[in-house]
């Protein structure tokens, strides 16, 4: 039997909801503090060198509360990268409609924008790619290669090229995209090893795009 009057029950549930929303609010605050701290440390110290303990210390939260929000360091990285990439994609959305020239040149512009955004974080980007293969990665995390946004941008650009007669209708666009993504990722590797700037990265990518562009211009006469 219910011993509490309805009004009391309402009040209890109201307090309960409020507690819940406070908790949610706290969790959100922890999350953004952790991400801010992680971004700073990843940039200044490096991904491998940064421990979850160090992130917690800088964020002013306990190690335990970091782990109630994120399953692993790799997941924190994927969120840091996602936030950063959102700014990049916003920039690309502004630029994409104004791109002119051949499909190869448009692709060059798209990647040059990427490199000018990311050139200062090449090691972090490599860690981001490496983390895509990490076991501890949470299923909901969006590591490198599973972010569909860049693929969409490239697909639009190539489909556009196909309409303009720049890209041969028989060419499988998904394979072209895979090749561009492989070249894109490789350039980060080069940059991290050779410590080159965004201009050099773009120049290397331009060459690779040139080679791929021969392939999407039409079927080869060799085998047909």
């Amino acid at each position: 039997m219910n011993v509490f009057p309805a009004a009391v029950l309402d009040a209890v549930s109201w307090v309960g909801e409020r507690a819940l929303s406070t908790r949610r609010h706290q969790k959100e605050a922890t999350r953004s503090r952790v991400l801010d701290a992680a971004r700073d440390l990843f940039d200044s110290v490096g991904y491998d060198e940064t421990t979850v303990r160090a992130i917690a210390r800088r964020a002013g939260v306990s190690v335990g509360s970091v782990f109630t929000t994120f399953a692993a360091k790799a997941e924190i990285l994927s969120h840091v990268m996602q936030e950063r990439l959102e700014d990049l994609y916003a920039e690309l959305d502004r630029v994409a409609p104004n791109l002119r020239g051949s499909t190869a040149d448009r692709l060059r512009s798209i990647f040059a924008i990427h490199y000018s955004f990311e050139a200062r974080h090449t090691r972090l980007f490599l860690a981001h790619i490496a983390a895509a293969f990490d076991w501890s990665l949470h299923a909901a995390a969006r590591p490198y290669g599973r972010t569909p946004r860049l693929r969409e941008i490239l697909r639009d650009c190539l489909a556009d090229g196909r309409e303009r007669g720049d890209v041969h209708p028989d060419v499988d666009l998904e394979q072209v995209i895979d090749l561009l993504m492989a070249a894109y990722a490789w350039t980060y590797r080069l940059a991290a090893w050779e410590k080159c700037d965004s201009g050099t990265m773009s120049a290397v990518m331009d060459q690779q795009i040139g080679l791929i562009a021969h392939g999407f211009a039409g079927p080869s006469p060799g085998r047909g």
Partner: protein
């Protein structure tokens, strides 16, 4: 008195050929650690497998593991070098019959995917190491990795010799891009569950695209 030189020199020769019991024991220990490590890297990934776990799976102390390998990266590299050696043999066999460079390259790539088909978790661990900023560079510059790249480049050089590809300064770039294309398809194998047949078709189209600029028109 008979001269003693004969038997002594024979014994000395035997000693050179037969390793000491200690060397054999050390070799066996290494093999046990490598087998355990291979299994744990496949089950838990590179990050997840600790030296402590590997030692206990091999039935020995962490000290005994460290007596043979300087660290986890060293242990993993050793596994990779052994595998890449075998993989190189398969790829070379696949390349041997020769033919059109596109065909040869498709066979080389497919030999690689077939090799790793039964051990994709280990391939996945290899990629997580291969892309890490420091250890990746070490792995990439290993002679065993260089062999794989040379086999791919060899197919291009043969294509030029056969007159099917033009001799242009982009051969290095093309070879490197082919190698990276070969590697990047493991993403589809590991996460997309692509079959060997699907990988074969995918590789063929990609190889065709990458060779186009070297085709005689």
């Amino acid at each position: 008195m008979k001269p003693m030189t004969g038997p002594i020199s024979a014994a000395a020769e035997t000693q050179v050929k037969v390793p000491t019991r200690r060397a054999v024991a050390k070799q066996q220990t290494r093999q046990r650690v490598l087998a355990a490590a291979r299994r744990l890297f496949s089950e838990q990934g590179y990050e997840g497998a600790t030296i402590r776990d590997i030692a206990s799976a091999a039935g020995m102390s962490t000290g005994a593991v460290f007596a043979n390998f300087s660290d986890k990266a060293d242990l993993f590299r050793e596994i990779m070098i052994v595998d890449m050696g075998r993989l190189g043999e398969r790829m070379r066999e696949a390349a041997e019959p020769g033919g059109d460079p596109e065909e040869v390259l498709v066979r080389i790539f497919t030999a690689g995917y077939a090799f790793y088909q039964g051990q994709l978790p280990l391939a996945r661990a290899a990629f997580s190491v291969g892309w890490s900023p420091d250890e990746g560079k070490v792995l990439r510059t290993e002679p065993a990795t260089q062999v794989l790249r040379d086999i791919i480049k060899g197919a291009l050089v043969d294509g030029v010799a056969r007159g099917e590809l033009i001799d242009d300064p982009q051969i290095e770039l093309r070879g490197r891009m082919l190698y990276d294309c070969y590697l990047s398809n493991y993403i589809a194998a590991v996460f997309g569950g692509s079959t060997l047949e699907a990988l074969h078709d995918k590789a063929r189209e990609q190889i065709r695209i990458l060779l186009a600029s070297a085709r005689r028109s």
